[in-house]
Symmetry: C2
Subunit: 214 residues, 2 copies
């Protein structure tokens, strides 16, 4: 089935269409079949609309600015979070990218600052420590001496690798390093939780009064 | 949950990022969360790679050509299918877009020609008969007098609407009009087929010897 499908997809009747489909399919999670559907949708738009579509990515790539403090995407030199004087400057939350900042901000449970790595150590994708904002994190810890660093990376192999790498790099500095609590998600049925998560949530059980905090 | 999510997504920290995410999310089936993930992937590429990505759509939209016979996407004035002298010129298969041509070609069961409507009548999306290659189909039927027209449109409300519209327009011409057989898909278990399809497949049952053809 898959082979027949690939066969079919190799014979697009236009070189330009082929190129556009290949570019669209280079996005993560977009297969060639979906890419063709998206490109055909673009083809039904006016040339102006397609220009606007394409230019938005060109403008973004050329004009993107990062906060000089936390390296989050920002239109200003210092982002609104780093500029906020009411934030706790002793707390530094280490995240992968802007999506994680948005997700944590949305919880309204965190009033410290962030440090955006701009990715995660992933040898499979050719991303090493030098590609990320790790040196700047070390020098920030050395200079600003925050009291606590919260590692808020994904609970994946790559996230754990990055955690370990940072932990080793930071162990000579007088900073407390913590990670996000791992456990059964709120609303999840216990029977469906995986063994690893359930096991960790028993080991790291919290006092009952803490579990009621909102 | 959804409201909180929208809330979060409204506060992207950069106008350029916001624009790019909006454009990406304008593609069908791409929500804002996915759009942000895709745009962040683009941001990790070199400016040259992003140019190549964006330009592929600009070039496609500006340089796209359609076959003057069947209106399929084609780099040449007459596409390879219409130019093929061994094809049965009495058979005309009416389809929505290039994906359907690729799908039918892939079956290797059809040796006639195509007519690509370039869409389907869909009042909800503001697509009427005038937006499609319907006039050209009528005049093709009048001039070239094919023996059979095969309606190969999706089995959806829009597909049926378009079928009926074309059927009415064509009823004064001496051409046999047929549609794709509707029935239980090969490999499907009967118990999971929907009532409408199963009912239709009983009414339009085929002689046993035909069902064995490959």
């Amino acid at each position: 089935m898959d082979k027949a499908y690939l066969c079919r997809m190799q014979s697009l009747p236009s070189r330009l269409l082929e190129d556009a489909v290949n570019e669209m399919a280079s996005l993560p999670g977009i297969g060639r079949k979906t890419a063709l559907r998206l490109v055909l949708n673009l083809l039904r738009r006016t040339p102006d609309e397609v220009s606007q579509f394409a230019n938005s990515f060109l403008l973004l790539r050329q004009g993107i600015h990062y906060c000089s403090e936390c390296f989050n995407i920002s239109d200003t030199t210092i982002c609104s979070i780093c500029a906020d004087k009411t934030r706790d400057r002793g707390l530094l939350c280490v995240v992968e990218d802007v999506r994680d900042v948005l997700a944590i901000e949305n919880t309204r449970q965190y009033r410290g600052l962030y440090h955006v790595l701009g990715g995660i150590i992933s040898p499979m994708d050719g991303i090493g420590p030098a590609d990320l904002e790790i040196e700047s994190l070390i020098s920030k810890v050395a200079q600003q001496q925050p009291t606590e660093l919260i590692m808020a990376l994904s609970a994946t192999m790559e996230g754990d690798t990055t955690n370990f790498y940072l932990y080793r790099k930071l162990k000579d500095y007088p900073v407390k390093v913590s990670t996000l609590a791992r456990g059964v998600a709120i609303g999840d049925e216990l029977a469906y939780a995986d063994e690893l998560t359930l096991g960790r949530s028993i080991l790291n059980r919290t006092p009952f009064e803490n579990s009621m905090q909102r």
